[in-house]
């Protein structure tokens, strides 16, 4: 059983929950991961996204999300103009590659310095989304729950140190998965929690031996 507001909802800018609302949420997620509006972004579209993005306003919705707008923000309709006004340089690339899902987008985001991040995500339908890769590391983030992503060394004991910090602060783990990136012996923990993890706790987790970096995601 879902909440009734998943059934009659989301409130969104049309025309398509997967190609417009989902696209806006993917852009917003990329915006959160980049921690702001990039100065340049290359958006590579795959599958149905690549074929139908103009007619569905997928391009505008993705740009709106990157600017930090929600899926029900009327500014989606003019997001391409707003991107230009806010000096967010963008380029859409239609990939002919077949990927394992029909609605996939890859964001290559740059700032005016040397920072470059890559985020890959997919639109699952009904406005639901999933981020599947950040900087080449596989993961699964949906934006449905508060999520902590911990980049860490792949060795025994790190996971228990991190989860202990949460447990001691009485934060319940709703779900957890560990993904490995083979080449650097890095691993990523994706932990969804029943409540928000505050900045102090995030710092404590960051201090755990073996933890390289950490990101948090609010519910979208």
């Amino acid at each position: 059983m879902n909440t009734i507001f998943d059934i009659i909802g989301p409130i969104m800018i049309g025309p398509s929950s997967s190609h417009t609302a989902g696209a806006a949420r993917l852009g917003k997620m990329a915006h959160c991961i980049f921690r702001g509006v990039p100065s340049r972004v290359e958006l590579t579209l795959y599958g149905s996204f690549a074929k139908t993005y103009k007619g569905h306003g997928t391009d505008k919705a993705l740009l709106a999300g990157l600017l930090g707008f929600q899926e029900d923000d009327a500014r989606i309709r003019v997001a391409d103009e707003l991107a230009k006004r806010d000096n967010m340089d963008y380029e859409f690339i239609e990939s002919p590659l077949e990927v394992d899902h029909p609605n996939v987008v890859k964001f290559d985001m740059y700032d005016t310095g040397h920072r470059h991040m890559t985020v890959v995500g997919r639109s699952l339908g009904g406005g639901r989304i999933m981020i599947t890769q950040v900087d080449g590391v596989d993961m699964e983030i949906t934006g449905d729950e508060f999520t902590v992503v911990v980049f860490h060394e792949d060795r025994p004991g790190v996971i228990s140190l991190v989860t202990q910090v949460l447990g001691e602060s009485n934060i319940n783990i709703a779900g957890m998965r560990v993904f490995k990136k083979a080449k650097h012996k890095d691993a990523v923990m994706v932990i969804s929690t029943d409540s928000i993890v505050d900045a102090e706790l995030v710092d404590n987790m960051r201090k755990c031996p073996g933890v390289r970096d950490l990101m948090t995601f609010d519910v979208l």
Binding site: M1, I7, I76
Partner: protein, 291 residues
Amino acid sequence: MSYSYETIEDIIRLAEEHSISFSDVVLQAELENYENDVETVMAAIDTRLQVFEKSIQAGLLNTGKTPSEMSGGQGAQLLAQGQPRFMSDLMYKSMTYAIAVNEANAKMFKVVACPTAGSCGVMPGCVKAVGEHYNLSHDDYVRGFLTGAGIGNVVTNRACVAGAVGGCQAEVGTASAMAAGAIVEMMGGTPRQVGNALAICMKNLLGLVCDPVAGLVEVPCIKRNGVYTAHALTAAEMAMAGIESQIPPDEVIETMNIVGRAMPAALRETSDGGLAKTLTGEKIAKRVRSL
């Protein structure tokens, strides 16, 4: 005591056991499972009912064409014509409103997916037309909303509501079944009549394919939302007259799912078949690609 439901029969049984309405069960289950208080749920319903209304107005007032030039302004055209030749006033209004909402959707105005964006017109069209025609109260709109949501919830969890999975019968079909049940509830029908309305409605749209021209949510989606308000009203009329569906609602929903999954991929939102592959459909697709 739990009000949680998996099936339409669960909702009807719980309603009958407690002598409450179909929508009461849906509300109680929502409160129980999502730890919300009544005020929060009512406020969220109100917000959505307001977007229903605003999307109808947006569609009627903005008569421009979509970028594909396939649609726009037909809701307003119907409203201006005003005089139905074949339909009742209520039915004509439902159709007009539903088309307006889907035109608003195609032109990137704010809508509520119901259950999807492509099928977002049927529920608002039927609910508003019935509410206006019979001068119903705000509470009646809320009961209609809850009933539609409960039906959609069962279909979502036991079948599918995505055109890519089950064809248009899963999208506009579900929307139509939700609307049929909703208006029976608004008019004071019994929980069992709600079940019969949605079953009769869904039985008669099995096999409806999803074949959007150029992959856009326009043709045949917009007019189809209008057409299926009439379908919902027809099913609701029969149910309120005491006519029962020989096949129970849950079995109809299960059948919709089986039929949907048996459909060839070309007819499930890929635009590789049906109207999308007609001579004209292909021509339009070519034009849209070059926009």
